[in-house]
């Protein structure tokens, strides 16, 4: 079974190679009578028998008409399905336990004609895989080609961090009469990475990268929000008026201005070693929980536009800031342990 599956996948890879967007054509479209198509042909056979036995030309005509409809709708099905143009959209960040929303744009540019009818989207299930790994569940999405909003999204539950093993996307359609099933298995670039689930914790920044001796540097603790009110100070000329604590003035305590916790702009390191795991967990769970905490800290620090580095033992990322840095840190966390 698995050998056949593998051969099939190989053949599919050759026939429909991975691409960012597809205009369906004879190479990528598979077409075969549906179950109803078979029933329909059976009906034609029955009508033929009845028509012959009753020597009824009208019944025979009906039978031949239905057969012709069957033939002609092959073309119609193909033509309709070949109108489909799919382009992969941008995926948002996804963390363990989240649903990955995999967006696809169906005929987004107005150049091509819209396909009609109901179109089913789902991840191609590889049966063996589902049996072993029950957690990888996916559900399909049915859209109406004449009434839908772009993009079409497929949901995939992500139970594990790291690269998502994205299976092919199956698209199928039965338009116009349901006699044929047109389908295709499209393969989109597999570059989605599931980040560890962030676990809220205090931010622990080591002042500098730790050397092997494990000498702990000065770590600085900091409360969560930095725009929070911290203390009062006597007013100095030039300070913004809206910082003045008018209530205090009204109480006759003179001009005092509110001071807010300002950003700590010092550079620090996040390190795997110094992240405390929750107690009572197995080795593997400990690691996951540590990574989760780091993930949370990376996200928080990036939000505050802080400069920080990441030390995961083997991989170290030099201190920096910005979206790109955040991305690379999260990727490093996600792929930690699998080389």
């Amino acid at each position: 079974m698995s050998i056949i599956q593998k051969q099939l996948n190989k053949w599919l890879d050759k026939r429909i190679p991975t691409a960012n967007q597809y205009q369906l054509n004879h190479k990528s479209i598979f077409i075969f009578p549906s179950k109803f198509g078979a029933l329909f042909i059976g009906l034609c056979g029955l009508l033929f028998l009845l028509g012959t036995n009753y020597q009824n030309n009208l019944m025979l005509l009906l039978c031949y008409f239905l057969v012709s409809i069957f033939l002609v709708s092959l073309l119609a099905s193909y033509i309709n399905f070949a109108k489909i143009h799919l382009q992969m959209g941008k995926t948002s960040e996804v963390f363990v336990g989240d649903n990955l929303h995999f967006p696809m744009w169906l005929n987004a540019d107005q150049k091509t004609l819209q396909p009609n009818g109901l179109i089913n989207f789902k991840f191609k299930s590889e049966k063996i895989k589902i049996n072993i790994d029950k957690s990888l569940s996916s559900n399909g999405n049915q859209i109406d080609g004449n009434n839908f909003t772009n993009p079409v999204t497929l949901n995939l539950l992500c139970p594990k961090r790291g690269k998502v093993n994205l299976s092919r996307v199956s698209v199928e359609c039965f338009y116009p009469l349901g006699l044929y099933r047109c389908w295709t298995h499209l393969s989109f670039p597999n570059n989605i990475i599931v980040f560890p689930k962030p676990i809220p914790c205090d931010i622990t920044l080591a002042e500098k990268s730790l050397n092997e001796s494990g000498e702990s540097g000065k770590t600085c603790q900091q409360s969560l929000g930095q725009d929070d009110f911290s203390h009062l100070k006597s007013y100095q000329l030039g300070e913004p008026l809206n910082h003045v604590a008018w209530k205090q003035l009204a109480k006759g305590r003179g001009m005092v201005s509110k001071q807010f916790a300002s950003e700590d702009s010092q550079i620090g390191w996040l390190s795997l070693k110094h992240t405390a795991a929750s107690v009572g967990l197995s080795q593997a769970e400990m690691l996951e929980s540590k990574l989760g905490k780091l993930c949370y800290q990376v996200a928080e620090l990036s939000r505050k536009n802080r400069v920080f580095g990441l030390d995961l033992g083997k991989t170290k990322i030099a201190p920096s800031s910005g979206m790109e840095h955040r991305q690379s840190c999260l990727t490093a966390l996600a792929t930690y342990g699998d080389d």
Partner: protein, 698 residues
């Protein structure tokens, strides 16, 4: 029939239970069942009506819940019991049809899943197919075709729920038009096989003549203006008084009812087993004609006296019986055409066997005493058979007999009552009385039923044909004498000569009983000129329909092949087969063509792109994001005015069509067509200039 639904079978939210597909299917089911009202039991009709109403209510969201599975199961069980009860004496075919529509109705009541819809559609197609067994006229054909199209539309609606219904109709119509030529080709070319096995049929569908007459029966036929059969003549058409279409010979009389003699039946069966077919001695002149019989669900065929099959196909399919009847080997379930040759003078020259003698002199001992004594008295006076016959006939002319379609009931001693009291009746009364009297007088005689007359239709370029309607049904008498052999006598002709010369309508003019039960029948209004023309046009249409569509069989197919191939040989046939297959393939390709063409651009775009191509070949490539006007400005800078001017013109025209308000210059002189023409002109100029430019600079 009904199972509990598994959750996976539930329709998705997009086809909710109020889907239009199911509504269409409900309407379809009701309409198709109505067209079969004669064969569907009334209570089944009621259930169908209920299911239709349920669907309408659900669609209009007046009520949102389908009947529960339990209710439906109960209903199903009850229906099955009802069906078993009502179909005790019915034919298998009828039961099948009823079962089918009943199943559809029950399914419709609970249809939710995709599978339900598909099953419903298939069953409905099958019901439509069955409809053709019962109704084969053009009208019904059109109706059923329409129903099939609606079924296809319902399927399309199911696949694309949010497409407006007009577009669905368009899609289905397009598909059907594409399928039409292919289906006609298949119909013409695929072999028309003989029946593979005997199919069930039923008594209740039998139409036309019955195999027994109790005087009174034929009057009922006279109330029907349905077509019985048509006869197309190669040569001259016989005179109205000679148009006696023989169908059934009845030789057994019990005092009330004439029927075919059981002995004859037995002998016939025996002969059939031994495959000893009777063939009459034929002499004299003959006429040749083809007959197309409407389905009667019986085996009798019709022909003028004395007929033999005219070609090998008819000879194979028709059994000739020893009393000169033609009997089809197949029950006539659909229109049937055969060709025969009739020898009008041959009747007198047939052999007269012992069996004939015995059967045709048999009279019941009891009853009709008056007649018996009257005949005995006459017979004494006229010892010669001929004279006796004349005397009996004279009785009909001398006594005040009346031809009427509304005779009084004659329950006991019907012949006595008819001859001496009422003296009013129609053909079967006269025939039965006359034959009985002859038998009493020891002259072998029998009653023959069939049709008499027919409406002649003569088109300029067609062979003339006679349409014989059910009201032409008639009964007459054959008697055998030593000197003349079998002879036909029609006492009705003596009483009502109009009936024979001009048909029933003329004969019944005074009484007003012609088709009295169907006041709006077109045949009844044949004195209104245009209505009569219309009726004849319909008849003509029906004639062609029967001949060319319903009567298309393997002989006609062979003729067609001969017409195409010249000679039917296996080689040529296989060539034809190949040709047909490639023709179908070609048609399919043709239907695919619009798909390819659609990918082409419209004229404006094409012309503009041609102009762009000209520059591209000259070395100026438009950056693919540059808009037309700015590109035209670039061209103006790069090229001399002779080149850039036509291009500027083209660009202006292009902008005009693509971007200006089309409504504004719809009525202006420069419409789209002219603009295209101008664009073409400028394009030509541009090409010329570019070529000149390419040559000159060096």
């Amino acid at each position: 029939m009904i199972k509990a639904l598994r959750p996976t079978e539930q329709l998705t939210t997009k086809h909710s239970v109020k889907s239009i597909t199911l509504l269409i299917l409900a309407i379809e089911l009701v309409l198709v069942s109505l067209s079969l009202y004669e064969s569907v039991f009334t209570w089944v009709m009621l259930i169908i009506g209920c299911s239709g109403v349920i669907r309408v209510i659900i669609y209009s969201q007046y009520y949102k819940h389908l009947p529960t599975i339990r209710t439906l199961n109960l209903l199903a069980v009850l229906s099955i019991l009802g069906l078993i009860y009502s179909s005790f004496n019915e034919s298998l075919l009828l039961i099948m049809v009823n079962l089918l529509v009943l199943a559809c109705a029950l399914k419709l009541m609970q249809a939710r899943s995709q599978r339900d819809v598909y099953q419903l559609v298939s069953s409905l197609f099958f019901v439509i197919g069955c409809g053709f067994i019962f109704n084969q006229s053009i009208g019904f054909y059109i109706f059923y075709t329409l129903m099939s199209l609606i079924l296809l539309i319902s399927l399309a609606c199911f696949q694309a729920p949010s497409l407006p219904i007009q577009r669905q109709c368009k899609t289905v119509l397009k598909l059907s038009l594409q399928a039409l030529p292919i289906s006609i080709l298949l119909f013409l070319v695929l072999p028309h096989l003989p029946p593979l096995w005997q199919v069930p049929t039923s008594k209740s569908f039998e139409t036309g003549l019955a195999d027994n007459i109790t005087p009174g029966d034929i009057a009922q036929l006279s109330q029907s203006s349905d077509l019985a059969f048509r006869a197309t003549f190669q040569g001259p058409v016989p005179n109205p008084k000679d148009r006696y279409w023989r169908a059934i010979v009845m030789e057994d009389f019990d005092g009330k009812t004439w029927r075919t003699a059981p002995l004859r039946k037995k002998i016939q069966e025996q002969l059939k087993r031994q495959n000893k077919e009777f063939s009459p001695a034929v002499t004299g002149s003959y006429t040749e004609y083809d007959i197309m019989v409407e389905p009667t669900h019986q085996n009798w065929l019709f022909a003028l006296d004395i007929a033999t099959p005219n070609n090998s196909k008819s000879a194979n399919e028709i059994w000739q019986s020893s009393n000169y009847q033609l009997i089809s080997n197949q029950t006539l379930l659909s229109k049937y055409e055969y060709s025969v040759r009739s020898y009008p003078q041959a009747l007198a020259h047939q052999r007269f066997t012992q069996i004939d003698q015995r059967l045709n002199l048999d009279v019941p001992e009891s009853g009709n005493k008056k007649t018996q004594s009257w005949v005995a008295f006459q017979r004494k006076l006229k010892p010669s058979d001929d004279e006796f016959i004349q005397a009996v006939l004279r009785y009909f002319t001398q006594q005040p007999f009346v031809y009427t379609l509304r005779p009084k009931l004659m329950l006991s001693d019907p012949i006595d009552t008819f001859l001496f009291e009422n003296q009013a009746g129609f053909c079967s009364h006269y025939a039965s009385a006359f034959a009985y009297m002859l038998r009493l007088g020891n002259v072998p005689a029998r009653v023959v039923t069939g049709y008499q007359g027919g409406e002649l239709v003569k088109e300029n370029n067609q062979a003339p044909y006679l349409s014989i309607y059910q009201y032409d049904a008639h009964a007459w008498v054959e008697a055998w004498t030593e000197q003349r052999g079998w002879q036909r006598f029609d006492p009705t002709a003596l009483v009502a000569p109009d009936r024979i010369e001009f048909g029933l309508q003329q004969a019944m003019q005074d009484e007003g009983s012609f088709l009295a039960d169907s006041p709006f029948s077109l045949a009844r209004m044949s004195n209104v000129a245009w209505l009569n023309n219309f009726r004849l046009f319909l008849a003509d249409l029906d004639y062609d329909w029967s001949r060319f569509v319903l009567g298309f069989d393997d002989t006609k197919q062979k003729d067609l092949f001969k017409l195409i191939l010249g000679k039917v040989t296996p080689d040529r046939l296989s060539l034809l087969g190949l040709g047909i297959i490639s023709l179908v393939a070609l048609l399919l390709c043709l239907f695919f063509l619009p798909h390819w063409l659609k990918n082409r651009m419209d004229t404006t775009q094409r012309l503009y792109f041609k102009a762009l191509d000209v520059f591209e070949s000259a070395g100026t490539i438009r950056p693919n994001w540059q808009a037309p006007l700015s590109f035209s400005e670039d061209i103006q800078q790069q090229y001399p005015a002779t080149i850039s001017n036509p291009f500027t013109q083209i660009t202006q025209l292009y902008l005009r069509i693509q971007y200006q308000d089309t409504n504004k210059h719809k009525h202006s002189v420069l419409n789209t067509k002219r603009t295209h023409k101008l664009m073409r002109n400028h394009l030509q100029k541009l090409k010329k200039e570019i070529i000149k430019n390419n040559k000159s600079p060096l």
